[in-house]
C-alpha cells in the first residue's frame, strides 16, 4: 500500500461580484470641496467609516501629483479610496488605488425607519365617564360603550350597537347607517327614546314592567322590541 498520497492540484477559481460604493466627484477649487467633506464629517463623524469610496475624476483635469495629494488628503480624514475612475491610466501609479471602469449608477437604499402601518380605525368607542344631559355622542363608525350612565337629555348615536353599563335615561339611536342588526343594551332602562335603523320607541311605549331593569332592544322587521336581559 502506497503510504504517500500524491499532492492534489488546486485550481484558482475566480468569481465575479459587484459592490455598491460611494462615488466622490471632486470639483475645483479642491480646497472648497474638501471643506464640504469636512462639514459633512462635522455633522456625522462616522459617515464614511467602513464605506467603500471611489473617486470619479472625469470632471477635473488633475496631474499625477494632484491625484496623489487628493488621496492623501482624504486618508487624513479617515476616508480610504477603493478605486479611481474617469482618469487616464498614465496618471495612476502602482501605489494608488486601481483604476476602475464599467461603473453603473444605482439607487442607494435609504436606511429610514419604516413608517408604522396605519392602524385600522377602531370600530368601537369607549366612554369611561357618564354622558351628561345636553351632550351628544355621535359615532357612525361602530359600537358605543358607556361605562357610566346616560343622563336625561343626553343622546348617543352609533352606527353599530350601544352598550350602557349604567342607567340609560337619555336617547339611544343605534344602527344609524342602516344597520338593522344593531342592538341597544343597558343595565337599567329609563330611556327617553330608543331607535334602531330609524325605527324608534319613545318612553311611553316602553313597558313599565321593564323599567329599572337590565334590558336590550333589537329590531324585528320594522318593530323595535325590548326584552329584559337576564
Amino acid at each position: 500500500m502506497d503510504a504517500s498520497a500524491a499532492p492534489t492540484r488546486h485550481l484558482v477559481r475566480m468569481r465575479g461580484r459587484s459592490y455598491v460604493a460611494f462615488v466622490f466627484c471632486p470639483a475645483v477649487p479642491i480646497v472648497g470641496w474638501l471643506e464640504e467633506i469636512d462639514a459633512t464629517l462635522a455633522r456625522s463623524p462616522g459617515f464614511f467609516v467602513g464605506k467603500p469610496v471611489v473617486l470619479d475624476l472625469s470632471a477635473v483635469e488633475f496631474s499625477q501629483s494632484a491625484i496623489a495629494h487628493l488621496i492623501t488628503s482624504l486618508e487624513q480624514r479617515n476616508i480610504r479610496v477603493l478605486g479611481i475612475e474617469g482618469v487616464d491610466a498614465a496618471h495612476v501609479t502602482t501605489s494608488m488605488p486601481p483604476l476602475l471602469t464599467g461603473g453603473r449608477p444605482c439607487v442607494l437604499m435609504q436606511n429610514e425607519p419604516k413608517k408604522p402601518e396605519a392602524k385600522p380605525k377602531p370600530m368601537s368607542l369607549l366612554l369611561e365617564s357618564p354622558v351628561r344631559s345636553g351632550q351628544s355622542i355621535v359615532f357612525a363608525e361602530g359600537d358605543v360603550t358607556v361605562l357610566g350612565s346616560v343622563g336625561s337629555g343626553a343622546e348617543i348615536v352609533a352606527g353599530g350597537s350601544i352598550h350602557v353599563y349604567g342607567t340609560l335615561r337619555g336617547r339611544a339611536m343605534a344602527g344609524v347607517n342602516g344597520n338593522s342588526a344593531a342592538r341597544i343594551y343597558c343595565q337599567k332602562i329609563e330611556a327617553e327614546l330608543l331607535a334602531i335603523d330609524g325605527y324608534y320607541q319613545t318612553a311611553e311605549d316602553i313597558s313599565a314592567t321593564l323599567r329599572n331593569r337590565p334590558a336590550q332592544a333589537w329590531l324585528d322587521g320594522d318593530i323595535v322590541k325590548i326584552s329584559p336581559l337576564n
Partner: protein
C-alpha cells in the same frame, strides 16, 4: 395656593346666591381670606344677601373695562374682616363680560385671596360659562326635583368640557350641594331621594341643606345664614359643607323629619 370655586346649578332659584354667601362666610370664619364674586350681571343679588347693597360704588364690569381698580370695587364685610365682596353691575348685561377681562380679574384675585367664590347666574349662557371658566372646583347646587337634577347634570357636563382646566386635560373638582331638602316631603316620597340624585349625577356630595325659614330670614336682613343664626339647622349644614371643602371628613347627616323632632322635644318638656 388660591382656589377658585364656582357655585353653579343651571336652574334658577335653587339657592346659588344663598349658598355662595353662606359658604363664603363659613370659610372666612375658619380664618380663610375669601372674596365672593357676583357674576349675575344685570340681576345681582349677592350684595343684598351679604348686606352690602348700600356700599356698592364700583362693580365687576367697571373693573373688566378698566374704569375702576380692583381695590376700589372690593367691599369688605362689616362682620368678618377677611370676607370681601366683588359686586356685579345691575345696569349692564352679561355681554359686558369678556373672557380675557374675567381671566385678568381672577388672576389678580388669586394673588390676594385664599378662596375666590364665583356666584354663577342661572342658565348656560355667557354669564354662567364665564363664571365657571377659570374654576378649580365647583359646587353644583341642586334641589331634590327632576328639573333641577337634570339641569345640574347638564352643568356638570359643561364643567368637564368648557372650563380652562378641562381644556388643559385636567379635572375641575366637583361637589353636589343639595339644598331645600324637605324631610317631611322626602318621607312622603314627594321628592327625589338623596340616593337617586347622587346616582344620576355621579358626583360626590358636599352637604344637604334642609329647607328652612332661617334661610329666608337671613336673606331678608342681609346676612349669610351661617352668620345670622349659627345654631340653625341650615347654618350647621353649611358649616359642615365648609369643613368638607377644607378637606376634613365630616359625617353626612341626612336631615330628619322636623315634626318628629319637635314632638319629641315637646313630649320631653311635657314630661
Amino acid at each position: 395656593m388660591a382656589k377658585v370655586l364656582v357655585v353653579t346649578s343651571g336652574k334658577g332659584g335653587v339657592g346659588k346666591t344663598t349658598s355662595t354667601a353662606a359658604l363664603g362666610a363659613g370659610l372666612a370664619q375658619m380664618g380663610e381670606k375669601v372674596v365672593v364674586v357676583d357674576f349675575d350681571v344685570g340681576l345681582r343679588n349677592l350684595d343684598l344677601v351679604m348686606g352690602a347693597e348700600r356700599r356698592v360704588v364700583f362693580d365687576l364690569i367697571n373693573v373688566v373695562q378698566g374704569v375702576a381698580k380692583l381695590s376700589q370695587a372690593l367691599i369688605r364685610d362689616k362682620r368678618l374682616e377677611n370676607l370681601w365682596l366683588l359686586p356685579a353691575s345691575q345696569t349692564r348685561d352679561k355681554d359686558a363680560l369678556t373672557d380675557e377681562g374675567v381671566g385678568r380679574i381672577i388672576a389678580d384675585l388669586r394673588t390676594k385671596f385664599d378662596w375666590i367664590l364665583c356666584d354663577s347666574p342661572a342658565g348656560i349662557e355667557r354669564g354662567a360659562t364665564l363664571a365657571m371658566r377659570y374654576a378649580d372646583e365647583a359646587v353644583i347646587v341642586t334641589n331634590p326635583e327632576v328639573s333641577s337634577v337634570r339641569d345640574s347634570d347638564r352643568i356638570i357636563g359643561m364643567l368637564d368640557s368648557k372650563t380652562v382646566k378641562a381644556e388643559r386635560g385636567e379635572r375641575v373638582e366637583k361637589h353636589v350641594l343639595i339644598t331645600r331638602y324637605d324631610s317631611a316631603r322626602a318621607a312622603r316620597g314627594e321628592m327625589l331621594s338623596i340616593e337617586d340624585i347622587l346616582e344620576i349625577l355621579a358626583t360626590p356630595l358636599l352637604g344637604i341643606i334642609p329647607e328652612s325659614q332661617d334661610v329666608l330670614r337671613a336673606s331678608n336682613v342681609g346676612s349669610p345664614v351661617t352668620l345670622n343664626n349659627a345654631a340653625s339647622a341650615p347654618a350647621r349644614a353649611y358649616v359642615d359643607a365648609v369643613r368638607r371643602l377644607m378637606g376634613e371628613t365630616v359625617t353626612m347627616m341626612v336631615p330628619v323629619e322636623r315634626k318628629g323632632l319637635m314632638n319629641r322635644l315637646l313630649g320631653r318638656r311635657a314630661a
